[in-house]
Protein backbone atom coordinates (compact mmCIF):
# COMPACT_ATOMS: atom_id res chain seq x y z
CA UNK A 1 0.00 0.00 0.00
CA UNK A 2 1.41 3.36 -1.04
CA UNK A 3 0.25 6.65 0.38
CA UNK A 4 0.09 9.96 -1.39
CA UNK A 5 -1.64 13.25 -0.99
CA UNK A 6 -3.65 15.10 -3.57
CA UNK A 7 -4.37 18.77 -3.10
CA UNK A 8 -8.09 19.44 -3.20
CA UNK A 9 -7.56 22.07 -5.85
CA UNK A 10 -5.94 19.49 -8.12
CA UNK A 11 -8.98 17.23 -7.88
CA UNK A 12 -10.57 18.65 -11.05
CA UNK A 13 -7.37 18.01 -13.00
CA UNK A 14 -7.27 14.50 -11.59
CA UNK A 15 -10.86 13.85 -12.67
CA UNK A 16 -10.22 15.31 -16.11
CA UNK A 17 -7.22 13.06 -16.57
CA UNK A 18 -9.32 10.07 -15.61
CA UNK A 19 -12.10 11.09 -17.96
CA UNK A 20 -9.75 10.70 -20.92
CA UNK A 21 -9.71 6.97 -20.51
CA UNK A 22 -12.61 6.12 -18.23
CA UNK A 23 -16.30 6.80 -17.81
CA UNK A 24 -16.27 8.55 -14.48
CA UNK A 25 -19.24 8.05 -12.18
CA UNK A 26 -19.34 10.35 -9.20
CA UNK A 27 -21.84 11.72 -6.71
CA UNK A 28 -23.96 14.55 -8.04
CA UNK A 29 -26.64 16.46 -6.27
CA UNK A 30 -30.19 17.27 -7.27
CA UNK A 31 -32.33 18.83 -4.55
CA UNK A 32 -31.76 16.57 -1.57
CA UNK A 33 -30.80 13.53 -3.57
CA UNK A 34 -27.27 12.45 -4.26
CA UNK A 35 -26.79 10.06 -7.10
CA UNK A 36 -23.80 8.45 -8.77
CA UNK A 37 -23.95 9.66 -12.34
CA UNK A 38 -21.74 9.67 -15.37
CA UNK A 39 -20.19 13.10 -15.14
CA UNK A 40 -19.19 15.29 -18.02
CA UNK A 41 -17.07 17.77 -16.09
CA UNK A 42 -15.42 17.82 -12.66
CA UNK A 43 -17.74 20.55 -11.43
CA UNK A 44 -20.67 18.13 -11.61
CA UNK A 45 -19.27 16.37 -8.58
CA UNK A 46 -20.64 17.19 -5.18
CA UNK A 47 -18.82 15.59 -2.26
CA UNK A 48 -20.92 17.20 0.44
CA UNK A 49 -22.80 14.00 1.13
CA UNK A 50 -23.25 11.24 3.63
CA UNK A 51 -24.24 8.71 1.05
CA UNK A 52 -26.15 8.51 -2.18
CA UNK A 53 -29.86 7.73 -2.17
CA UNK A 54 -29.61 4.83 -4.59
CA UNK A 55 -26.57 2.65 -3.95
CA UNK A 56 -23.89 2.60 -6.64
CA UNK A 57 -24.86 -0.98 -7.39
CA UNK A 58 -27.06 0.73 -9.96
CA UNK A 59 -23.94 1.23 -12.06
CA UNK A 60 -22.79 -2.38 -12.16
CA UNK A 61 -26.19 -3.99 -11.82
CA UNK A 62 -28.31 -1.51 -13.70
CA UNK A 63 -31.97 -1.34 -12.83
CA UNK A 64 -32.93 -2.17 -16.42
CA UNK A 65 -30.48 -4.19 -18.46
CA UNK A 66 -30.76 -5.98 -21.78
CA UNK A 67 -29.75 -9.64 -21.70
CA UNK A 68 -30.05 -10.21 -25.44
CA UNK A 69 -32.20 -9.10 -28.33
CA UNK A 70 -34.44 -11.23 -30.47
CA UNK A 71 -36.86 -11.32 -33.30
CA UNK A 72 -40.11 -12.07 -31.52
CA UNK A 73 -42.76 -14.62 -32.30
CA UNK A 74 -43.03 -18.26 -33.14
CA UNK A 75 -40.24 -18.09 -35.69
CA UNK A 76 -37.97 -16.25 -33.28
CA UNK A 77 -34.29 -15.57 -33.73
CA UNK A 78 -31.62 -14.43 -31.33
CA UNK A 79 -29.56 -11.29 -31.86
CA UNK A 80 -26.74 -11.64 -29.34
CA UNK A 81 -25.83 -8.75 -27.14
CA UNK A 82 -22.36 -7.35 -27.19
CA UNK A 83 -21.03 -7.13 -23.72
CA UNK A 84 -19.55 -3.72 -23.18
CA UNK A 85 -15.96 -3.50 -22.04
CA UNK A 86 -16.04 0.23 -21.33
CA UNK A 87 -13.74 1.22 -18.54
CA UNK A 88 -15.41 2.82 -15.59
CA UNK A 89 -14.36 4.64 -12.49
CA UNK A 90 -16.67 4.97 -9.56
CA UNK A 91 -15.29 7.95 -7.76
CA UNK A 92 -16.03 8.70 -4.13
CA UNK A 93 -17.74 5.43 -3.41
CA UNK A 94 -18.23 4.89 0.29
CA UNK A 95 -16.38 1.94 1.84
CA UNK A 96 -19.67 0.28 2.76
CA UNK A 97 -20.93 0.43 -0.82
CA UNK A 98 -17.60 -0.82 -2.09
CA UNK A 99 -18.02 -3.81 0.17
CA UNK A 100 -21.39 -4.48 -1.38
CA UNK A 101 -19.64 -5.32 -4.65
CA UNK A 102 -17.53 -7.94 -2.94
CA UNK A 103 -20.76 -9.38 -1.58
CA UNK A 104 -22.43 -9.28 -4.98
CA UNK A 105 -19.39 -11.01 -6.47
CA UNK A 106 -20.21 -14.08 -4.42
CA UNK A 107 -23.58 -14.22 -6.17
CA UNK A 108 -22.66 -13.39 -9.72
CA UNK A 109 -19.37 -15.25 -9.73
CA UNK A 110 -20.43 -18.58 -8.31
CA UNK A 111 -21.49 -21.84 -10.02
CA UNK A 112 -22.53 -19.74 -12.96
CA UNK A 113 -20.94 -16.52 -14.12
CA UNK A 114 -22.92 -13.46 -15.00
CA UNK A 115 -20.94 -11.79 -17.79
CA UNK A 116 -22.97 -8.58 -17.69
CA UNK A 117 -22.12 -7.85 -14.10
CA UNK A 118 -18.65 -9.34 -14.12
CA UNK A 119 -17.41 -7.53 -17.20
CA UNK A 120 -18.46 -4.25 -15.67
CA UNK A 121 -16.95 -5.23 -12.37
CA UNK A 122 -13.63 -6.15 -13.95
CA UNK A 123 -13.52 -2.99 -15.96
CA UNK A 124 -14.21 -0.63 -13.13
CA UNK A 125 -11.90 0.95 -10.66
CA UNK A 126 -13.36 1.84 -7.30
CA UNK A 127 -12.00 5.04 -5.86
CA UNK A 128 -13.30 5.16 -2.34
CA UNK A 129 -13.89 8.21 -0.24
CA UNK A 130 -13.69 7.76 3.50
CA UNK A 131 -16.82 8.57 5.37
CA UNK A 132 -15.66 11.37 7.67
CA UNK A 133 -19.15 12.17 8.87
CA UNK A 134 -21.16 8.97 9.01
CA UNK A 135 -24.91 9.36 9.06
CA UNK A 136 -27.36 8.73 11.83
CA UNK A 137 -28.11 5.18 10.80
CA UNK A 138 -24.64 4.08 9.74
CA UNK A 139 -23.39 0.94 11.45
CA UNK A 140 -20.62 -0.43 9.24
CA UNK A 141 -18.44 -0.86 12.32
CA UNK A 142 -20.78 -3.67 13.43
CA UNK A 143 -19.41 -5.79 10.61
CA UNK A 144 -15.82 -5.18 11.58
CA UNK A 145 -15.40 -2.52 8.93
CA UNK A 146 -14.63 1.10 9.35
CA UNK A 147 -15.94 4.23 7.65
CA UNK A 148 -12.43 4.64 6.32
CA UNK A 149 -11.88 1.01 5.41
CA UNK A 150 -9.69 0.44 2.38
CA UNK A 151 -10.40 -3.27 2.17
CA UNK A 152 -12.78 -3.28 -0.75
CA UNK A 153 -11.64 -0.35 -2.87
CA UNK A 154 -8.80 0.04 -5.35
CA UNK A 155 -7.83 3.49 -4.19
CA UNK A 156 -9.00 5.24 -1.05
CA UNK A 157 -9.29 8.99 -0.65
CA UNK A 158 -9.64 10.52 2.78
CA UNK A 159 -10.45 14.15 3.28
CA UNK A 160 -7.78 15.64 5.56
CA UNK A 161 -8.58 19.32 5.22
CA UNK A 162 -6.75 20.97 2.35
CA UNK A 163 -5.82 17.68 0.81
CA UNK A 164 -6.94 14.17 0.19
CA UNK A 165 -4.91 11.40 1.73
CA UNK A 166 -4.65 8.83 -1.05
CA UNK A 167 -3.89 5.17 -0.53
CA UNK A 168 -3.45 2.81 -3.43
CA UNK A 169 -4.62 -0.63 -2.47
CA UNK A 170 -4.96 -2.97 -5.42
CA UNK A 171 -2.85 -3.38 -8.54
CA UNK A 172 -5.61 -1.73 -10.51
CA UNK A 173 -5.39 1.27 -8.22
CA UNK A 174 -1.61 1.39 -8.29
CA UNK A 175 -1.49 1.30 -12.07
CA UNK A 176 -3.98 4.08 -12.32
CA UNK A 177 -2.02 6.34 -10.02
CA UNK A 178 1.29 5.49 -11.70
CA UNK A 179 0.04 6.96 -14.93
CA UNK A 180 -0.60 10.35 -13.41
CA UNK A 181 1.84 10.27 -10.59
CA UNK A 182 2.86 13.91 -11.14
CA UNK A 183 -0.44 15.09 -9.61
CA UNK A 184 0.36 13.43 -6.32
CA UNK A 185 2.85 14.13 -3.62
CA UNK A 186 4.28 11.59 -1.24
CA UNK A 187 2.38 11.53 2.01
CA UNK A 188 4.16 12.68 5.12
CA UNK A 189 3.90 11.29 8.60
CA UNK A 190 1.71 14.24 9.49
CA UNK A 191 -0.74 13.42 6.70
CA UNK A 192 -0.91 9.88 7.94
CA UNK A 193 -1.70 11.10 11.43
CA UNK A 194 -4.42 13.35 10.08
CA UNK A 195 -5.98 10.39 8.36
CA UNK A 196 -5.81 8.31 11.50
CA UNK A 197 -7.49 10.98 13.56
CA UNK A 198 -10.17 11.41 10.89
CA UNK A 199 -10.78 7.68 11.11
CA UNK A 200 -11.02 7.77 14.87
CA UNK A 201 -13.39 10.70 14.78
CA UNK A 202 -15.55 8.99 12.20
CA UNK A 203 -15.74 5.78 14.18
CA UNK A 204 -16.70 7.75 17.27
CA UNK A 205 -19.55 9.41 15.37
CA UNK A 206 -21.17 6.06 14.74
CA UNK A 207 -23.75 5.62 17.45
CA UNK A 208 -25.70 2.66 16.20
CA UNK A 209 -24.50 -0.86 16.64
CA UNK A 210 -25.77 -4.25 15.57
CA UNK A 211 -24.61 -7.18 17.63
CA UNK A 212 -24.10 -10.08 15.27
CA UNK A 213 -22.52 -12.82 17.30
CA UNK A 214 -24.63 -15.93 17.41
CA UNK A 215 -27.26 -14.49 15.10
CA UNK A 216 -26.84 -17.12 12.38
CA UNK A 217 -27.32 -19.93 14.89
CA UNK A 218 -30.13 -18.11 16.66
CA UNK A 219 -32.00 -17.60 13.41
CA UNK A 220 -31.91 -21.34 12.82
CA UNK A 221 -33.84 -21.80 16.02
CA UNK A 222 -36.52 -19.16 15.71
CA UNK A 223 -37.84 -19.68 12.19
CA UNK A 224 -41.34 -20.31 13.53
CA UNK A 225 -41.19 -17.52 16.11
CA UNK A 226 -44.08 -15.14 16.67
CA UNK A 227 -41.55 -12.34 16.22
CA UNK A 228 -41.88 -12.47 12.45
CA UNK A 229 -45.62 -11.98 12.67
CA UNK A 230 -45.25 -8.97 14.90
CA UNK A 231 -42.61 -7.36 12.67
CA UNK A 232 -44.55 -8.07 9.50
CA UNK A 233 -47.75 -6.61 10.88
CA UNK A 234 -46.59 -3.09 10.32
CA UNK A 235 -44.74 -3.79 7.09
CA UNK A 236 -46.61 -2.35 4.15
CA UNK A 237 -44.65 -4.41 1.64
CA UNK A 238 -43.41 -1.42 -0.32
CA UNK A 239 -40.00 -2.87 -1.12
CA UNK A 240 -38.14 0.40 -0.55
CA UNK A 241 -35.68 -1.47 1.66
CA UNK A 242 -34.76 -3.84 -1.16
CA UNK A 243 -34.52 -1.22 -3.87
CA UNK A 244 -32.19 0.95 -1.82
CA UNK A 245 -30.14 -1.94 -0.46
CA UNK A 246 -26.63 -2.15 -1.92
CA UNK A 247 -26.56 -5.93 -1.62
CA UNK A 248 -30.06 -6.81 -2.83
CA UNK A 249 -29.64 -8.26 -6.27
CA UNK A 250 -32.92 -10.00 -7.09
CA UNK A 251 -34.27 -9.31 -10.51
CA UNK A 252 -37.13 -10.08 -12.77
CA UNK A 253 -36.74 -11.10 -16.41
CA UNK A 254 -39.22 -9.93 -18.97
CA UNK A 255 -39.60 -9.97 -22.72
CA UNK A 256 -40.35 -6.63 -24.26
CA UNK A 257 -41.08 -6.49 -27.90
CA UNK A 258 -42.63 -4.63 -30.74
CA UNK A 259 -43.87 -6.61 -33.72
CA UNK A 260 -40.44 -6.52 -35.33
CA UNK A 261 -37.88 -6.75 -32.58
CA UNK A 262 -37.62 -7.25 -28.90
CA UNK A 263 -35.31 -7.96 -26.04
CA UNK A 264 -35.16 -9.97 -22.90
CA UNK A 265 -34.42 -7.55 -20.14
CA UNK A 266 -33.84 -7.82 -16.47
CA UNK A 267 -35.10 -5.31 -13.94
CA UNK A 268 -34.68 -5.06 -10.22
CA UNK A 269 -37.35 -6.91 -8.38
CA UNK A 270 -38.17 -7.14 -4.73
CA UNK A 271 -38.82 -10.12 -2.48
CA UNK A 272 -41.30 -7.94 -0.62
CA UNK A 273 -43.89 -8.27 -3.39
CA UNK A 274 -46.25 -11.22 -3.37
CA UNK A 275 -46.04 -11.65 -7.17
CA UNK A 276 -42.35 -12.27 -6.75
CA UNK A 277 -42.84 -15.90 -5.78
CA UNK A 278 -46.39 -16.50 -7.04
CA UNK A 279 -46.61 -19.64 -9.16
CA UNK A 280 -48.70 -19.64 -12.29
CA UNK A 281 -50.91 -22.23 -10.59
CA UNK A 282 -51.81 -19.69 -7.91
CA UNK A 283 -49.76 -21.42 -5.24
CA UNK A 284 -47.53 -18.99 -3.39
CA UNK A 285 -44.72 -20.33 -1.22
CA UNK A 286 -44.51 -17.00 0.55
CA UNK A 287 -48.15 -15.95 0.71
CA UNK A 288 -48.04 -13.54 3.61
CA UNK A 289 -45.93 -10.53 4.41
CA UNK A 290 -44.68 -12.48 7.37
CA UNK A 291 -43.02 -15.00 5.06
CA UNK A 292 -41.55 -12.26 2.94
CA UNK A 293 -40.21 -10.16 5.78
CA UNK A 294 -38.74 -13.27 7.36
CA UNK A 295 -37.18 -14.36 4.11
CA UNK A 296 -35.54 -10.98 3.70
CA UNK A 297 -33.97 -11.07 7.14
CA UNK A 298 -32.92 -14.69 6.76
CA UNK A 299 -31.50 -14.13 3.32
CA UNK A 300 -29.25 -11.42 4.62
CA UNK A 301 -28.32 -12.77 8.02
CA UNK A 302 -28.59 -16.52 7.70
CA UNK A 303 -28.56 -17.81 4.13
CA UNK A 304 -25.81 -15.51 2.93
CA UNK A 305 -23.41 -16.29 5.77
CA UNK A 306 -24.08 -19.99 5.16
CA UNK A 307 -23.36 -19.75 1.45
CA UNK A 308 -20.45 -17.30 1.52
CA UNK A 309 -18.11 -15.52 3.87
CA UNK A 310 -20.32 -12.43 4.11
CA UNK A 311 -23.43 -11.24 5.83
CA UNK A 312 -25.43 -9.53 3.11
CA UNK A 313 -25.52 -6.23 4.93
CA UNK A 314 -22.91 -3.51 4.84
CA UNK A 315 -24.36 -1.24 7.49
CA UNK A 316 -25.13 1.61 5.12
CA UNK A 317 -28.38 2.35 6.94
CA UNK A 318 -30.47 3.10 3.85
CA UNK A 319 -33.24 0.64 4.67
CA UNK A 320 -33.51 2.08 8.16
CA UNK A 321 -33.56 5.63 6.97
CA UNK A 322 -36.18 5.15 4.27
CA UNK A 323 -38.51 2.54 5.71
CA UNK A 324 -41.87 4.31 5.85
CA UNK A 325 -42.92 2.43 8.98
CA UNK A 326 -39.60 2.34 10.83
CA UNK A 327 -38.82 -1.35 10.56
CA UNK A 328 -35.28 -0.96 11.77
CA UNK A 329 -32.97 -3.84 10.86
CA UNK A 330 -30.77 -3.12 13.89
CA UNK A 331 -33.83 -3.36 16.09
CA UNK A 332 -34.98 -6.52 14.29
CA UNK A 333 -31.66 -8.25 14.92
CA UNK A 334 -31.68 -7.07 18.53
CA UNK A 335 -35.13 -8.62 18.91
CA UNK A 336 -33.93 -11.81 17.27
CA UNK A 337 -31.29 -12.08 19.94
CA UNK A 338 -33.86 -11.48 22.64
CA UNK A 339 -36.31 -14.17 21.54
CA UNK A 340 -36.38 -17.04 23.99
CA UNK A 341 -36.24 -20.42 22.34
Amino acid sequence: MDSFVLLKKTLPTFIEKLSDEYDVFAPTRKDNIFEYKLISKPSDINLDFVNSRLPPKSILLQQTETLFKFKPGRKGKILPKEISEDKKIIFAIRPCDAKSFSILDTVFDSDFKDPLYLSKRENSVLIGLSCNNPGVNCFCTSFGDSPTSSKFVDILFTDIGEKFFVETISDKGKKLVEKITDLFEKATEEDKNLKDSAEKEAIDTIKRNMKLEGVVEKLDEIFESQLWHSIAMKCIGCGTCTFLCPTCHCFDMQDEATLKEGARIRVWDSCMYSEYTMHASGHNPRPARMNRVRNRVYHKFSYFPKNSEYTACTGCGRCIEFCPVNIDIIDVIAKVREVKV
Binding site: T66, K69, E256, T258, E261, G262, A263, I265
Partner: protein, 146 residues
Protein backbone atom coordinates in the same frame (compact mmCIF):
# COMPACT_ATOMS: atom_id res chain seq x y z
CA UNK B 1 -37.50 10.46 -36.10
CA UNK B 2 -35.19 11.46 -38.93
CA UNK B 3 -37.63 10.26 -41.55
CA UNK B 4 -40.33 12.39 -40.07
CA UNK B 5 -38.28 15.53 -39.97
CA UNK B 6 -37.21 15.21 -43.57
CA UNK B 7 -40.67 14.59 -44.88
CA UNK B 8 -43.64 16.54 -43.73
CA UNK B 9 -45.00 15.30 -40.45
CA UNK B 10 -48.02 13.04 -40.93
CA UNK B 11 -49.91 12.63 -37.68
CA UNK B 12 -50.68 9.13 -36.55
CA UNK B 13 -54.02 9.12 -34.79
CA UNK B 14 -55.77 6.26 -33.07
CA UNK B 15 -59.55 6.44 -33.01
CA UNK B 16 -61.48 4.48 -30.42
CA UNK B 17 -65.02 4.46 -31.79
CA UNK B 18 -68.10 2.98 -30.23
CA UNK B 19 -69.77 0.22 -32.16
CA UNK B 20 -73.27 1.68 -32.24
CA UNK B 21 -72.89 5.32 -33.19
CA UNK B 22 -69.51 6.71 -34.07
CA UNK B 23 -68.20 3.58 -35.81
CA UNK B 24 -71.40 3.49 -37.84
CA UNK B 25 -70.90 7.20 -38.50
CA UNK B 26 -67.39 6.51 -39.76
CA UNK B 27 -68.78 3.73 -41.88
CA UNK B 28 -71.34 6.07 -43.38
CA UNK B 29 -68.62 8.61 -44.15
CA UNK B 30 -66.82 5.87 -46.02
CA UNK B 31 -69.77 4.46 -47.91
CA UNK B 32 -70.85 8.00 -48.83
CA UNK B 33 -67.35 8.45 -50.33
CA UNK B 34 -66.61 11.55 -48.30
CA UNK B 35 -63.06 12.84 -48.49
CA UNK B 36 -61.20 13.03 -45.19
CA UNK B 37 -57.59 12.52 -44.07
CA UNK B 38 -56.45 8.91 -43.74
CA UNK B 39 -54.56 9.58 -40.51
CA UNK B 40 -57.05 8.08 -38.09
CA UNK B 41 -56.62 4.37 -37.48
CA UNK B 42 -59.83 3.09 -36.03
CA UNK B 43 -60.22 0.59 -33.22
CA UNK B 44 -63.81 -0.37 -32.62
CA UNK B 45 -65.01 -0.80 -29.08
CA UNK B 46 -68.49 -1.81 -28.04
CA UNK B 47 -69.09 1.38 -26.09
CA UNK B 48 -67.08 4.49 -25.40
CA UNK B 49 -67.53 3.48 -21.76
CA UNK B 50 -65.07 0.66 -22.45
CA UNK B 51 -62.27 3.12 -22.95
CA UNK B 52 -59.85 3.02 -20.10
CA UNK B 53 -57.67 6.14 -19.95
CA UNK B 54 -54.72 3.76 -20.06
CA UNK B 55 -55.75 2.87 -23.63
CA UNK B 56 -55.08 6.48 -24.48
CA UNK B 57 -51.80 6.65 -22.60
CA UNK B 58 -50.63 3.37 -24.13
CA UNK B 59 -51.54 4.58 -27.61
CA UNK B 60 -49.53 7.74 -27.07
CA UNK B 61 -46.61 5.65 -25.81
CA UNK B 62 -46.67 3.28 -28.73
CA UNK B 63 -46.65 5.69 -31.61
CA UNK B 64 -49.87 7.66 -31.73
CA UNK B 65 -49.57 11.42 -31.94
CA UNK B 66 -53.19 11.83 -31.03
CA UNK B 67 -56.17 9.87 -29.86
CA UNK B 68 -59.76 10.35 -30.91
CA UNK B 69 -62.55 8.93 -28.83
CA UNK B 70 -65.97 8.67 -30.40
CA UNK B 71 -69.21 7.90 -28.63
CA UNK B 72 -72.94 8.30 -29.03
CA UNK B 73 -74.54 11.64 -28.28
CA UNK B 74 -75.42 12.07 -24.61
CA UNK B 75 -78.62 10.22 -23.94
CA UNK B 76 -78.24 7.99 -27.00
CA UNK B 77 -75.81 5.46 -25.54
CA UNK B 78 -76.75 1.92 -26.48
CA UNK B 79 -75.91 0.96 -22.92
CA UNK B 80 -77.66 4.02 -21.51
CA UNK B 81 -74.84 5.83 -19.69
CA UNK B 82 -71.49 4.57 -20.99
CA UNK B 83 -70.58 7.78 -22.73
CA UNK B 84 -71.30 9.90 -19.65
CA UNK B 85 -68.75 7.95 -17.62
CA UNK B 86 -66.14 8.27 -20.34
CA UNK B 87 -66.78 12.00 -20.52
CA UNK B 88 -65.76 12.32 -16.87
CA UNK B 89 -62.75 10.08 -17.25
CA UNK B 90 -61.42 11.84 -20.29
CA UNK B 91 -62.01 15.26 -18.74
CA UNK B 92 -59.81 14.24 -15.85
CA UNK B 93 -57.19 12.66 -18.10
CA UNK B 94 -56.95 15.83 -20.16
CA UNK B 95 -56.58 17.91 -17.03
CA UNK B 96 -53.78 15.68 -15.84
CA UNK B 97 -51.98 15.63 -19.19
CA UNK B 98 -52.16 19.40 -19.34
CA UNK B 99 -50.64 19.63 -15.86
CA UNK B 100 -47.81 17.31 -16.84
CA UNK B 101 -46.97 19.39 -19.88
CA UNK B 102 -48.30 16.92 -22.42
CA UNK B 103 -50.52 18.73 -24.90
CA UNK B 104 -54.09 17.88 -23.88
CA UNK B 105 -55.23 18.60 -27.45
CA UNK B 106 -53.77 15.27 -28.42
CA UNK B 107 -56.72 13.60 -26.78
CA UNK B 108 -60.02 14.48 -28.41
CA UNK B 109 -63.51 13.29 -27.89
CA UNK B 110 -66.49 13.57 -30.12
CA UNK B 111 -70.14 12.59 -30.23
CA UNK B 112 -71.02 11.21 -33.64
CA UNK B 113 -74.29 9.46 -34.38
CA UNK B 114 -74.72 6.74 -36.98
CA UNK B 115 -76.24 9.31 -39.31
CA UNK B 116 -73.48 11.88 -38.97
CA UNK B 117 -71.01 10.72 -41.60
CA UNK B 118 -70.42 14.32 -42.56
CA UNK B 119 -69.64 15.29 -38.98
CA UNK B 120 -67.20 12.42 -38.61
CA UNK B 121 -65.29 13.51 -41.71
CA UNK B 122 -65.14 17.06 -40.40
CA UNK B 123 -63.96 15.98 -36.98
CA UNK B 124 -61.19 13.87 -38.45
CA UNK B 125 -60.14 16.73 -40.65
CA UNK B 126 -60.07 19.12 -37.74
CA UNK B 127 -58.08 16.99 -35.35
CA UNK B 128 -55.63 15.90 -38.03
CA UNK B 129 -54.89 19.54 -38.72
CA UNK B 130 -54.67 20.34 -35.01
CA UNK B 131 -52.25 17.55 -34.33
CA UNK B 132 -50.23 18.36 -37.41
CA UNK B 133 -49.73 21.77 -35.84
CA UNK B 134 -48.77 20.36 -32.45
CA UNK B 135 -46.23 18.04 -34.01
CA UNK B 136 -45.14 14.53 -33.16
CA UNK B 137 -45.57 13.09 -29.68
CA UNK B 138 -42.23 13.37 -27.96
CA UNK B 139 -42.75 13.28 -24.23
CA UNK B 140 -43.85 9.74 -23.55
CA UNK B 141 -43.13 7.91 -26.78
CA UNK B 142 -41.49 4.54 -26.19
CA UNK B 143 -37.94 4.44 -27.42
CA UNK B 144 -37.73 0.67 -27.98
CA UNK B 145 -33.96 0.69 -27.81
CA UNK B 146 -32.53 -2.16 -25.88
Amino acid sequence: MTVETIQEFEPNIIGFLCNWCSYAGADLAGTSRMQYPPNVKIIRVMCSGRINPMFVVNALQQGADGVLIGGCHPGDCHYQHGNYFTRRRITILKNLLEFLGIEPERVRMTWVSAAEGRKFAEVVEEITEDIRKIGPMKQIRRVNEW
